[in-house]
């Protein structure tokens, strides 16, 4: 028995030392040797306690599918030209379907062979005579649609991760939720939150298209847009007055090149102090760019980002070497943000903000101070109450209680868990204190009953512990059962609360049973006490 007591003492001692080591960095800055050689994970605070940003975004993956269909239109047109198939029109009839109108029905087999075969993801649904000619209806098969959508969400996550990595917050978190939602958490983000949101949700789709020099811009602005063209605008800000003016451009719909080929983007001021963005292209992009500029010398190339024209320089000569510049009337911040999104890549589809929670650092500081005070006050009241009601036994329970609190934080910062402490989590700690003390109250009430029944102190303690054991297991298990759905369904702070509660309950089983029992056994065996102060 003595030996087992030593063992138990040793276990408690080790746990205490390890816990203190784990918790110490959360109490303040650690000395240098500590940071170098010892575990140094301060407790992770939730957004509500340190301020920051929480966003739920919805990837509008339907638009990614639509974009593919649009792309296929120009692909099909090019293929038909190559194969000398005469057609009158190719139109999108739904996000996933398009119709091709042939002038000569006899060319259908040729179409099947030379065009359809190469449009892998599209299947022919039907064909027959229609008003505009011989109509062939093509449709994306549902499996492809599904995989495009999934890929869009995955790509969006990667891109957003790239972007938020540059904000410099300690633990950015970007995860997929459900089929098409992305949750972005930036705890501790202290700079301009609105600018961060702008950067995250920016599609950053960069396209190079030719300006239609023959088109009539004035007529287009009235609604008469030539087919194959689209009307886009450029915003010009006067740097002195800040007045923004719009100028219209008529550009060809065909996309010559997109931003996928960008490897780097940097901001450089030009000689006049204007900001320009210098972009580097990968090998494929460099080849494409060389070919495009070679084929369209003396024409104007519009550089379009998210359907806004930034610049439309005249191509003076074939450009080789794989780099290009974007000029525009941007402020240094705008240019910096633009370069950032170009570097991080474009979103495959626009995102919509479904949920936006931001907490300023000052509120977080207040919350943590009040929460801490509330826990300390609650603890003090309970400790006094236990000491008064159960005397020395109450003090033993208080020791277990202190250890309980220490262990909760130690488990939370432990490398396996790295749980987040939230404001409701602090309340969870307070409640756990109540529950932990309940275990000891159950035991002590049993012991008192046994003592009243005339048993010796030693026997009363043994019986008390044994009889209370099952009850305490039951109460703790049921509490954990009630908290589990919260871990599953809860988000952010609520999940933090449930996790804290569960940790607290497990820890309380250990402290209320193992620790107090060991102390009592020590008192009985080593100190040879004959009666209990209870």
């Amino acid at each position: 028995m003595i030996q087992s007591l030593q063992w138990r003492g040793a276990i408690i001692g080790v746990i205490l030392v390890v816990s203190l080591f784990l918790v110490y960095p959360s109490l303040g800055p650690v000395p240098e040797f500590w940071a170098k050689h010892l575990p140094n994970n301060p407790v992770r605070l939730g957004l509500d306690l340190q301020g920051g940003l929480y966003l739920t975004l919805e990837v509008q993956s339907d638009l990614a599918v639509e974009a593919l269909t649009d792309q296929t239109i120009s692909e099909a047109s090019a293929l038909m030209k190559d194969a000398s198939i005469r057609y009158s029109d190719v139109v999108r009839t739904s996000p996933t379907a398009l119709s091709v109108y042939l002038k000569d029905p006899g060319q259908e087999p040729l179409f099947d062979e030379k065009v359809l075969d190469k449009l892998h993801s599209f299947k022919k649904v039907s064909s027959g005579a229609a008003d505009k000619g011989f109509e062939i209806q093509l449709e994306l098969d549902p499996k492809t649609v599904e995989s495009i959508k999934q890929r869009a969400v995955r790509q969006a996550v990667d891109t957003i991760r790239n972007r938020v990595d540059q904000f410099g917050v300690a633990e950015p978190d970007v995860v997929v939720q459900g089929a098409d939602r992305i949750v972005v958490q930036l705890p501790g983000l202290r700079e301009d939150i609105n600018r961060a949101i702008d950067i995250i949700k920016r599609t950053a789709r960069l396209e190079f298209k030719l300006v239609d020099e023959k088109g009539d811009v004035a007529a287009a602005e009235k609604g008469d847009i030539p087919s194959g063209d689209e009307l886009l605008y450029q915003l010009n800000r006067n740097p002195r007055t800040g007045v923004v003016t719009k100028s219209a451009f008529l550009v060809k719909k065909q996309i010559l090149m997109t931003g996928d080929v960008i490897t780097d983007a940097k901001v450089q001021p030009d000689r006049g102090g204007k900001m320009i963005i210098h972009i580097d292209l990968n090998r494929i992009g460099a080849q494409q760019f060389e070919r495009i500029t070679g084929e369209h010398v003396r024409e104007r190339l519009a550089i379009i980002l998210d359907n806004r024209v930034y610049s439309a320089p005249v191509i003076k000569d074939k450009i080789s070497g794989g780099s290009a510049i974007i000029e525009g009337a941007f402020s240094p911040e705008e240019a910096h943000d633009l370069a950032l999104v170009l570097r991080a890549g474009s979103l495959p589809a626009p995102v919509k903000i479904l949920e936006n929670r931001s907490v300023g650092p000052s509120l977080g500081d207040d919350s943590i101070r009040l929460g801490r005070n509330a826990i300390v006050l609650g603890m003090v009241l309970i400790v006094i109450g236990m000491a008064v009601y159960y005397k020395w036994s109450g003090m033993v329970a208080n020791v277990a209680l202190m250890m309980n609190l220490l262990l909760i934080f130690a488990v939370m910062v432990s490398p396996f868990l790295r749980a987040t402490l939230t404001l409701p989590g602090l309340a969870g700690v307070a409640l756990t204190i109540g529950m932990a003390i309940d275990a000891n109250i159950l035991i002590f009430e049993r012991v008192r009953e046994e003592l009243r029944g005339g048993k010796s102190a030693r026997a009363a303690m043994d019986t008390g512990y044994n009889k209370a054991f099952l009850t305490i297991i039951d109460t703790h298990v049921t509490n954990i059962l009630a908290a589990l759905p919260l871990i599953q369904f809860g988000t952010g702070p609520i999940k933090g609360f449930a996790v804290t509660l569960c940790i607290g309950l497990v820890v309380s089983l250990f402290t209320a049973f193992f620790v107090t029992r060991t102390i009592f056994d020590y008192a009985f065996q080593v100190k040879q006490i004959k009666s209990m102060s209870i």
Partner: protein, 299 residues
């Protein structure tokens, strides 16, 4: 020190008719809130909308804020946080530019009250779709929690006692719900967490009594159920009162010191603990006693 004398013999079960009357009145009160108050006031977590917390460094009144922000929305709810110069402003989700909301609000406040006199401390915007999803998640979380507890109780004790415990939980949840409906306090995700905690806490209380009943049933196989129930409740009464008291101490500390979010959380717990303690004595056991006629408690 002893609060409850060891040989206390209160005839809880004999007087259960008074408890029935009280329980019925409380339940009617809680349910009456639905036709009269039209449900609880759902927070933006569940209803969708925007909520902004603003701190002023001077004294302003709610009407002035409402006037200043009129251009944002006609249906603006402005609420002063007690004892502070902080305000909670609630509105439906603005149709466009929801992410620019804090800039717009700050701009309007600067114009109305002067630059630097106010600080936006937090902004929350929940779209209607997410709100609906969170509502569903909340309902499922509650149902699953109750279901798991019923299974556990049926397995560890008896099915009848499990039913009694679940009835007692539903009773407590309805009372907390009624409290929120009548006081007009906002029901949000944090309060849901509090409700589920109340479930955990109440089942705690109920299990302690059930455990004692099970033990006494084994000791006295012939004794009438009603006597065993009475004895068990009396034997655990001291613990019940103490634990409720101690837990209340830590919850009251949050009520006294917490921020407004935690204060509502603490209120839910206070009501939950009071009625949880009441119901584990006066609802769960009598319920089992009545159920025993149709679904006899196995001995």
């Amino acid at each position: 020190m002893e609060l409850i004398k060891p040989n206390t013999k209160i005839d809880f079960m004999g007087n259960r008719r008074y408890a029935y009357a009280f329980t019925t009145v409380m339940l009617i009160l809680a349910l009456a809130s639905i036709p009269i108050k039209g449900h609880v006031r759902l927070g933006i977590d569940f209803s969708g909308g925007a909520m902004i917390q603003v701190k002023f460094n001077k004294t302003v009144d709610t009407d002035h804020i409402r006037e200043g922000l009129k251009s944002l929305s006609e249906n603006l709810i402005v609420q002063k946080l007690l004892g502070t110069d902080e305000f909670i402003i609630r509105m439906e989700t603005p149709e466009e530019g929801a992410d620019k909301l804090s800039q717009r609000v700050q701009g309007l406040l600067n114009k109305e009250f002067g630059t630097g006199s106010s600080e936006i401390r937090s902004l929350e915007m929940v779209g209607p779709k997410v709100g609906k999803d969170l509502q569903n998640a909340a309902i499922w979380a509650t149902i699953i929690a109750l279901g798991m507890l019923l299974v556990y109780m049926a397995f560890r004790f008896t099915f009848t006692m499990g039913l009694g415990a679940i009835f007692c939980l539903v009773h407590d949840l309805l009372i907390v719900y009624g409290f929120f409906a009548w006081t007009g306090k906002e029901f949000n995700l944090t309060i849901l967490a509090a409700m589920l905690t109340v479930i955990g806490y109440d089942i705690n209380d109920t299990i302690v009594v059930c455990d004692r009943i099970r033990e006494n049933l084994k000791l006295q196989k012939k004794a009438p159920l009603i006597d065993i129930f009475n004895a068990s409740i009396n034997q655990t009464l001291s613990r019940t009162v103490l634990t409720s008291g101690f837990t209340m101490l830590s919850v009251v500390a949050f009520l006294a010191l917490g921020t407004h979010i935690l204060q509502d959380f603490a209120w839910a717990l206070v009501i939950g603990i009071i009625f949880g303690t009441y119901s584990s004595i006066f609802v769960a056991s009598p319920c089992v006693l009545e159920l025993d006629r149709v679904l006899p408690v196995k001995r």
